[in-house]
């Protein structure tokens, strides 16, 4: 069948606008990916190339010296361990508390529209910038004698992860038909039993995605770690890497190599849960 002329026109417009769209997206991609490229390149460049002017955009003279340096440096390992503990600990804490909170908000009707108010209140704690809370948080940690401990970071990160966990998990629970639990209750189970045996296994993928999101946020966190920690006993990777900027020199090679190594696990995590992230970030506003 011959198509109408008008349809040729519209398909031309569609193609033209989709070309524009992709061109724009490419531009953005280059803008955001270039720093990554630069980081990886710098971590592999020799020191001479790092400082040469005009900059070396591409070179075959590569070295693994900086990677060797951080891998055999025990302080890097300590920092990585601190980071992992702070990030894993806060993810665990906020998941346990947040999942149960989200379940209650999703399933139990409180009087005076408290469900709605509580949910918004929890969300509102994420609305102010972290720096607002840093001074009170510092004072609290000092009073509790928790400064420069990993526990301080676990607690501080949980404060920020908890609202996210509650909202994201609430979305997963809301999508689960209530009849499943009612059916379990009718089959003779308790509320807790129904939660553990029916609800949790069904939202397990959601829990995994939420956990990874929490870990990414905590792993990258800089400000709290900077203020709340000082020594190797609690210092995390982002702050430790920044400390390579010293009074006398900036160790670009070591910093870049450490940056690449620190980035890798989160990069993989993010790829794994990309699908859920988009959904979680829209906070269940859009139903599929």
């Amino acid at each position: 069948m011959r198509e109408l002329k008008g349809q040729y026109d519209s398909s031309f417009v569609t193609r033209y606008s989709s070309f524009l769209k992709y061109a724009l997206l490419m531009l953005f991609a280059v803008f955001f990916l270039f720093p990554m490229y630069w980081l990886v390149l710098t971590s592999l460049k020799t020191q001479a190339d790092q400082f040469s002017m005009p900059p070396v955009w591409w070179t075959k003279r590569l070295t693994l010296d900086y990677y060797r340096a951080i891998i055999f440096d025990s302080s890097f390992e300590t920092l990585a361990f601190n980071s992992a503990l702070a990030c894993g600990g806060s993810a665990l804490l906020s998941l346990v508390a947040g999942t149960m909170g989200a379940y209650s908000l999703s399933r139990f009707r409180l009087p005076f529209r408290l469900n709605h108010h509580l949910s918004l209140w929890i969300l509102s704690t994420r609305m102010f910038p972290p720096i607002v809370s840093i001074v009170p948080l510092f004072l609290i940690m000092r009073a509790l004698d928790l400064l420069d401990t990993r526990l301080a970071l676990v607690l501080a990160y949980s404060v920020f992860n908890l609202p996210f966990v509650v909202w994201m998990m609430k979305g997963f629970f809301d999508e689960l038909p209530r009849e499943l639990e009612e059916s379990a209750l009718m089959d003779g189970d308790t509320h807790l039993g129904a939660f553990l045996r029916i609800v949790l296994p069904l939202v397990a993928p959601g829990i995994a995605a939420t956990a990874i999101f929490c870990m990414i946020v905590s792993w990258n966190e800089f400000l709290f770690a900077l203020i709340l920690t000082q020594t190797d006993s609690a210092l995390t990777l982002p702050v430790g890497i920044a400390n390579q900027v010293t009074q006398y020199e900036i160790r670009w090679g070591v910093m870049s190599a450490a940056g690449v190594v620190a980035m890798t696990p989160m990069f993989i995590f993010a790829l794994m849960v990309q699908r859920y992230l988009v959904r979680g970030l829209s906070f269940g506003a859009v139903k599929g």
């Binding site: 009849e179 059916s183 379990a184 009718m186 003779g188 189970d189 308790t190 296994p201």
Partner: protein, 355 residues
């Protein structure tokens, strides 16, 4: 085990969704709660299940007051409209779940599961997960899960409404055989009058939270307590024509319909009357016939084994059943003969049946 509702009331935001319900279901009986959506039938079922609190009144299961008793201690099993099978478990695990909760040993559980699965003819599906099952198969798994622990009562919330028409008829028959075979007290909720008529020992019709009438399907069909029940039970619905008395006769547009002697005293007591008759009780005749109701053909529907003729009689649209090969054109004027003995009289204002 018998079940008794005593003034059971459910109030949602000042609105009585179920209003002082008194109903007794005998041991082994299948009671169908029938009514349009929003009439409170599902809420009634959920109160009995323990999924909703009882605002006022009392519910007894086997003479034990169950107000405030959690679902798991009521020993009743429920089949949900969407079956509510656990998606992460196989059919066998779904069926065995009630036993697993009760700590039944693994091999004993497996034995009972396969036994129940055999009765419901789903033995070969036990390893599949719910999403790999068809609607009818899911329905059977849900039934098996309810049956396996021999509960005091079955509660069923429109269990057939998610099935396609043919399968629904088939499952309806099987459900009836299953219930009659096991003789387990059953409360079945539906808005489908045909399901209610075919399944129930007795039917309870509800409307806006209030019980309208309880009785066997035949009682409801033959002696509806009010216009609502009369219009809800039977298909096509009963015809209603408003009118008044003239001596011993009811004034119809075509003429006078004489009533039977036992209808007269009741008819005389009401100011305005509504006359009701079922499509299958009336017959078509010549418009000139004495005492016949006159109407113009609105539309005809041939069903194959019978034909329904819809006629416009002044304001009312009435239905008459004719034999399969009856032919009429839209706009034809026909007479409708209504035997006085088949007529039900209702008071127009309250809708109450008069005889």
């Amino acid at each position: 085990m018998s079940i008794r509702f005593e003034n059971a009331t459910k109030i949602f935001r000042d609105l009585a969704v179920v209003d002082r319900l008194n109903l007794e279901i005998e041991d082994g009986e299948m009671m169908v709660l029938l009514g349009p959506s929003g009439c409170g039938k599902t809420t009634t079922l959920r109160m009995l299940a323990g999924l909703e609190d009882i605002s006022e009144g009392t519910i007894y299961i086997a003479s034990r007051c169950v107000n405030g008793v959690p679902s798991r201690h009521r020993n009743v099993a429920m089949v949900f409209q969407n079956y509510a099978l656990y998606p992460h478990m196989t059919a066998a695990q779904n069926i065995g779940y009630p036993l697993r909760i009760r700590g039944v040993k693994r091999d004993e559980m497996a034995r009972q599961v396969s036994e129940v699965a055999e009765t419901l003819e789903i033995g070969r599906l036990l390893d599949r997960r719910p999403r790999e099952l068809s609607g009818g198969e899911r329905q059977r798994v849900a039934l098996a899960r309810a049956v396996i622990r021999r509960p005091a009562a079955f509660l069923m919330d429109e269990p057939l409404s998610n099935l396609d028409a043919r399968l629904r008829l088939q499952m309806r028959g099987e459900l009836k055989r299953l219930q009659r075979g096991l003789r387990i007290t059953t409360l079945y909720v539906t808005h489908d009058q045909a399901e209610a008529m075919t399944l129930a020992h007795r039917v309870a019709v509800m409307r806006e939270g209030k019980l309208q009438q309880v009785g066997t399907p035949m009682e409801l069909y033959q002696r509806p307590a009010n216009m609502f029940v009369a219009g809800f039970v039977g298909s096509p619905a009963m015809n209603f024509i408003q009118g008044r008395m003239e001596g011993a006769s009811f004034r119809l547009n075509g003429g006078l319909l004489s009533l039977t002697p036992d209808q007269l005293p009741a008819a005389a007591s009401a100011e305005t009357l509504v006359l009701g008759f079922r499509p299958e009780c009336a017959s078509l005749t010549s418009p000139q016939e004495d005492g016949a109701l006159r109407g113009t053909v609105y539309v005809t529907e041939e069903m194959g084994n019978e034909t329904f003729v819809f006629l416009k009689c002044e304001d009312a649209l009435i239905t008459v059943r004719a034999e399969a090969h009856f032919k009429a054109e839209i706009g034809d004027v026909l007479g409708v003969r209504v035997p006085p003995s088949s007529v039900r009289l209702f008071e127009a204002r309250t809708g109450k049946a008069l005889v």
